[in-house]
Amino acid sequence: MSEQTTTPTYVLRGAAPLGADPVDLVLAGGVITEVRAANSPVAEDETVVDATGLVALPGLVDLHTHLREPGREDAETIVSGTRAAAVGGFTAVHAMANTTPVADTAGVVEQVWRIGRDAGWVDVHPVGAVSVGLEGTQLAEIGAMAASAARVRVFSDDGKCVWDPILMRRALEYVKAFDGVVAQHAQEPRLTEGAQMNEGVVSAELGLAGWPAVAEEAIIARDVLLAEHVGSRLHVCHLSTAGSVEIIRWAKGRGIDVTAEVTPHHLVLTDELARDYDPTFKVNPPLRTAADVEAVRQGLADGTIDIVATDHAPHTREDKDCEWAAAAFGMTGLETALSVVQQTMVDPGRMTWADVARVLSAAPARIGRIDEGPTAQGRPLEVGEPANVVLVDPAARRVVDGRTQSTASTNTPFHGRELPGRVVATFLRGRATVLDGAPVEQVAGVRS
């Protein structure tokens, strides 16, 4: 079955690629076939999508998503999570390994990959665990996962830190064989025993055990030095502190092969939100101070931080409808990420839409090594490239409602907040997954 027979030819009329002058983008056969002058005549068999006033970006790529399946399908499934991703403008997500069972074998990563492929909302790229069971003692079968149908290239114990320096060194070295990367959740465990929120003025007053910035920074400092020593590629997940930005800046200046990500929530929310003990705002790493928020924005703007990744972490109501200490860490993010980046970076003039395409598409695809081959992601919007496109209305404003999102969980920290920008349409290799802002239910068996 070929895509050409099932998918119409789309003309995205008047779309502004990366915010530049409007053109008509033609998507056919899974690729961008033409870039015409805006409002050119269309053929009868072409389907027009009015993209006047909309910005066209390459399909977004999330390097850090928790899809929860297998194990916690009550919080999210691969289907519901990838549908939410498409609604958020994504065409690929990396599914973190901390499922039950843990994605530490070829069998589990292939299962996640297949379910994602069959669902058809986005490309699902499983992340493999670094250590067996995320226990931090023995390397998982990294080679088998890399060689599997899922072709895993990103390895992470996310949720837990690869704390043992020897294990971290071995992992960094081992993934060199297939150009993989270790994505570290930087959290010194002894410094964060029982930690509940950022350690500082607010934690002191609230009497919640502190999660000090140094617990993140100490691990990042160690890891960039390890990566330098063994000549490996390191990715730092969700860095959250001003000090972490400084360390990454220093490491890059030294030529160390390190990349770093920041989450949308760390770009805008602070630990002041803990004052009402609402566990919606309980997340790991914790929300930090306004000075840290400014530092990560600056780091993202100047390229020190390479990408924005959601750390989308759905949780059931019961895991959040309780006292702070009993609540789970994490917040959803797939459906608000682009809006937060627009609000914090584009609207204030600190980044262009081309920068957004870099930090939310090209760079994460490159880090995950999914930017080449038949299902390449994060490519430019040029003729001959895969037709992974998202249309965004930057002038729209919307009030986030956790109850009506596509994710199966309601733990969005932006509930009730107005955010700029709206994803109007998403195309995965020429096939519409989202039109008019709503997911397009997929025909079973259709693969792109």
Binding site: E193, G207, Y277, E323, A326
Partner: protein, 340 residues
Amino acid sequence: MKHLLSTADLSRADAIRILDTAAQMAATQSREIKKLPTLRGRTVVNLFFEDSTRTRISFETAAKRLSADVINFSAKGSSVSKGESLKDTALTLQAMGADAVVIRHQASGAPHTLAHAGWVDSAVVNAGDGMHQHPTQALLDAFTMRRHLVARGAAGAGGTRVAGDPTGQDLAGLKVAVVGDVLHSRVARSNVHLLHTLGAHVTLVAPPTLVPVGVETWPCDVSYHLDEVLAETAPDAVMMLRVQRERMSGSGAGGGAFFPNPLEYTRNYGLDGRRLALLPDHTIVMHPGPMNRGLEISAEAADSPRAVIVEQVANGVAVRMAVLYLLLAGEASTERAGLE
């Protein structure tokens, strides 16, 4: 006032009103018949997720002296790992028609969540939450200080205070040293806010390991040297905090190893006879209990005539009566309560 969750929420007027009401309550407790009819037919639930016989008994006594029906609900252990969630417990109490819930919980903020999650209509009284707050303890401490140091015209504010009825008065000018494990102490947090609101000057004294990061924004001074504070500030009250012996071990929660061993702690931060002698004559010695005799306070200090520790316990009942009364009966029924 709908709930009592934190002393940080109390204005000076609120605090004085509670202390004045407590004084009226205390006066009734010297009568032969101690029981007042004020809260007859109202139900007070003592919801204790953490063992605290002393606090529970104090609240129970207070509620019973006001003729409320009292239900003791002990739910020890983590709510999530060992059975019913806080939400379901709350909904159960709501269904039973609790007018006030007095909650003690190991999780900081649990009373705040109980009060604001929409689970119950009851008034919520925080009887101690994690490392956060223990507002009735601070109120009884302030009440005790006012009785001793304000009513008796002690040296506070340069000795300008005149002895007499402290009703309506705050603690302006008093100097208070709070000594010990500030980091883990809800008593310290509650007292810092309340004493500041009432005009007293607080100095926290602790080893640096037991002072929270972020303390610099608190309305108080911080010192690591007890002898200096006692000798140089001449405090009107010295409040010793309980130190848990497990804090010294390396395996405790939060990393442990806060001080080398109990002997060194006592040497540097314990209140003993020698340090007692450094204090002005009028200075009172306080402790929220239960005491570790020989660790943070010596028997000589604990049993000295300056110690008002047992009186703090008695005042606790009066303060808790006042809080329950103000939350459940309010001003309108002051006359009915026979308090005027």
